[in-house]
């Protein structure tokens, strides 16, 4: 079982991203679940969501405590939330950042998802949308395939810029 924890802020699309990642994994032929952790979220508040991907049925619904991969959609969370909690030494962090970031003892893959959203004008109510481009980054890392990512996105968004965002992230991320 491969477990992902996604850190974001309300309004950035972390929950949608979790659902799209699970759907893409499902299209890859895997079993997958997406579990948003619901608290009393407001716009801008830190939130987490979990994705599990497995070859066999997934019976657990609880929160992911020891993720195999952490996704951080907002780099400012690094200073307020322990995003590395439970991540095994050497584990991977996919971080939305325009600059390389070092996190001692972990493998950090950065992707300028905000930049991609701004270039493509994927902005709603002032928030750059990151929930589709992040799938491109995960595809590059090898968690899901790019084809399934594009299929999952296209089925949920009519605006073709969403698929374009994933493709752009896939092309830009060095994994």
């Amino acid at each position: 079982m491969f477990e992902i924890r996604i850190h974001s802020r309300g309004g950035q699309g972390g929950v949608t991203a979790a659902r799209l990642i699970a759907l893409a994994a499902f299209y890859d032929g895997k079993q997958a679940t997406a579990t948003p952790f619901y608290g009393a979220e407001r716009r801008g508040a830190p939130i987490v969501a979990f994705v599990r991907i497995c070859d066999t049925a997934i019976r657990t619904c609880c929160q992911v405590k020891e993720p195999d991969l952490v996704v951080v959609l907002d780099p400012t969370l690094l200073s307020t939330v322990n995003v590395l909690k439970g991540l095994a030494p050497g584990g991977t962090v996919l971080l939305n950042s325009p600059h390389p970031v070092a996190l001692d003892g972990f493998r950090v893959v950065t992707a300028d998802l905000t930049g991609i959203a701004l270039v493509l004008d994927l902005v709603i109510a002032g928030s750059p949308l990151l929930d589709t481009s992040v799938l491109g980054g995960l595809a590059k890392i090898g968690v899901i395939t790019l084809d399934s990512a594009k299929r999952a996105i296209a089925e949920n968004f009519t605006d073709p810029r969403n698929v374009a965002a994933a493709e752009k992230a896939y092309a830009e991320v060095a994994a």
Partner: protein, 372 residues
């Protein structure tokens, strides 16, 4: 269609497939997605029902009762406070012998406000005459909804059915879901006592003690008959769709010396705990109780039992624990856990088994606990 979907969507998709004529509902967290989806299906024309956006849950159930009395298929969905607000009408629906189907997204009861998973809402309605089933996956929610209509409308039952799914943990988690056309799986509803203006009758009039008792007994007789109907409908479902559930779902129980019993998603989480415990050499098994009314009565004789209740009957104990004590020879270790959405992992459940003390009650996360 084969995709991943939330438990709520599993319910809504099944309701669309069951083709009710009237849906009357009031939104409440975490059930809201169900009524939003149904309203959307009706607006799109992919569902032919009349959707009545009532002003309260009491009215939701009253409207379902009025509609069902004409012989039309009806559905509603609610949760927590909404279910409590319906309480009077739940009794009415069952007493009036109307096969209304309802999805209840299990949520804690206030105060204090809490929107997360808890079974107290539904278990407080256990004596209303509704059949109650608890599901654990989006697929099971879909499948059970389809079966619920057929069971409720069966001539030997004619009682309402409540399909329960855990708030957020199941209602909002996306899981694989295969939806298939129901075809003729649910036969057209033929309500024997539907209102007929050519044969006028008084429905539920004032009834003296000499007759009232008989009507109550008829409810119980149908509850008993429902066991067989559930078996038949599950068999028919398995034959048509290839998925089988049963009154309880057993997991590695054949040689189990200690059995974990729970309802809803905790019952499935317990299966992961069983795998862990077996690796440690503890011969554990899990029984996920699906049908609470009529009570499934698992046979636990000769086994140690650890029961997890996501509910509590104050001054008495865990509802499931006591239900088992009353129906099968056992002296369970009664664990009260998961109230108000408290996180309970498979690791926690494995620990419940390791620390079990038959006959005692343990409140997970609470310092002081002891005998009841």
């Amino acid at each position: 269609m084969h995709t991943i979907a939330t438990g709520n969507r599993g319910v809504a998709e099944a309701v669309r497939e069951a083709k009710p004529g009237v849906v009357a509902a009031y939104p409440i967290t975490p059930q809201t997605e169900i009524v939003e989806l149904i309203a959307q299906y009706v607006a799109q024309g992919t569902m032919q029902a009349t959707y009545i956006p009532v002003e309260s849950e009491h009215s939701a159930m009253a409207a379902c009762i009025g509609a069902s009395a004409t012989g039309i298929r009806t559905f509603t969905a609610t949760s927590s406070q909404g279910l409590l607000y319906m309480h009077e009408m739940l009794h009415w629906a069952a007493g009036a012998r109307l096969p209304i189907v309802m999805a209840n997204v299990n949520r804690a009861v206030a105060p204090p406000w809490n929107v997360w998973a808890d079974h107290t809402d539904a278990l407080s309605q256990r004596d209303t005459g509704w059949l109650q089933v608890y599901v654990a996956t989006a697929q099971e929610a879909y499948d059970t909804m389809l079966m619920a209509f057929r069971i409720a409308e069966h001539e030997d039952v004619l009682l309402p059915v409540m399909v329960n799914l855990d708030g957020f943990i199941l209602s909002h988690t996306m899981q694989p879901l295969e939806t298939t056309p129901a075809g003729d799986f649910i036969p057209p509803l033929s309500l024997p006592h539907a209102i007929d203006i050519k044969d006028p009758a008084a429905y539920s009039p004032l009834t003296g003690p000499e007759y009232y008792f008989g009507f109550r007994w008829e409810i119980e007789r149908s509850m008993r008959d429902a066991r067989q109907v559930i078996r038949e409908v599950e068999e028919a479902f398995a034959g048509k769709f290839g998925r089988r559930y049963g009154p309880v779902e057993e997991y590695r129980t054949e040689d189990a010396e200690v059995v974990i019993v729970a309802m809803g998603t905790l019952g499935r989480e317990a299966q992961v705990a069983v795998d862990r415990l077996r690796q440690e050499g503890i011969p554990a098994g899990a029984v996920r109780l699906r049908w609470f009314r009529p009570f499934a009565r698992p046979d636990l004789a000769g086994r140690e039992v650890v029961v997890i209740d996501r509910d509590y009957s104050f001054g008495f104990g865990g509802v499931l624990a006591h239900s088992l004590r009353a129906t099968t020879p056992c002296n369970p270790y009664s664990v009260i856990a998961g109230l108000g959405g408290q996180e309970v992992t498979y690791a926690d459940i494995a620990q419940f088994v390791r620390q079990r003390k038959p006959g005692e009650e343990f409140w997970f996360g609470v310092e002081s606990h002891g005998d009841v």
